[in-house]
């Protein structure tokens, strides 16, 4: 899954009927393992009701479609969790900050 921060929202009068009016959030990835395209942010369906500025965990692929009920939705990313806190073990990786670029650190990150 992807750790990201909600930076915005998008809505549209004309959209695919299979989206059935679901809220779409713009999420800027903080830790995205294998981005298949150089995207600054993802557009995710939000079954949990996250707000702008919160850190979230995004799940990609089939489960994102099933989060809307069945697999027949034009969707590829859904929000799986709204993050309360991120804890990074200092000694686990020699340079933990190496994986969180300066401007992409999760808000509620504590080092232990």
């Amino acid at each position: 899954m992807i750790l990201g921060r909600v930076i915005g929202q998008c809505w549209a009068a004309r959209q695919s009927p299979r989206l059935d009016g679901n809220k779409l959030l713009l999420v800027r990835p903080l830790a995205w393992y294998d981005p298949d395209h150089q995207a600054d942010h993802l557009v995710c369906v939000d079954p949990l009701g996250a707000e702008v500025g919160q850190d979230v965990v995004v799940c990609m692929g089939l489960p994102a479609r099933l989060a809307l009920g069945d697999a027949r939705h034009p969707v590829e990313a859904a929000i799986a969790a709204i993050v309360d806190g991120v804890e990074v073990y200092q000694d686990a990786c020699r340079e933990p900050a190496f994986c969180f670029a300066h401007d992409r650190q999760p808000e509620s990150m504590q080092e232990r």
Binding site: M1, Y33, A80, A92, F98, C99
Partner: protein, 100 residues
Amino acid sequence: MIRGRVLGEVWATRKAPRLAGKKMLLVAETCMLPQGEQPTGRVIVAMDLLDAGRGDEVVVAFGSGARNAEVPGSRDVLVDASVVQIIDGTSTGSTPLISS
């Protein structure tokens, strides 16, 4: 599947229904270089069923393999990466390399 080291933990109270009670770990992918094990800088959030602790070396599976780690054939759990092994030792080439 990738090999990585547990970098930290992500906790959340509001989660997708099937994720309640499951731990989510931050895993930093590592690669074996001559001078030893180095983080590649790529991090993933993986669901943890094996209680991997701080700094453990783990194997993370992706996609439907990740969902099979919990309940084989389950489709509706909102996960696409999960820890499937906590590594005790690795051997590369002829020389056994006990890494942890």
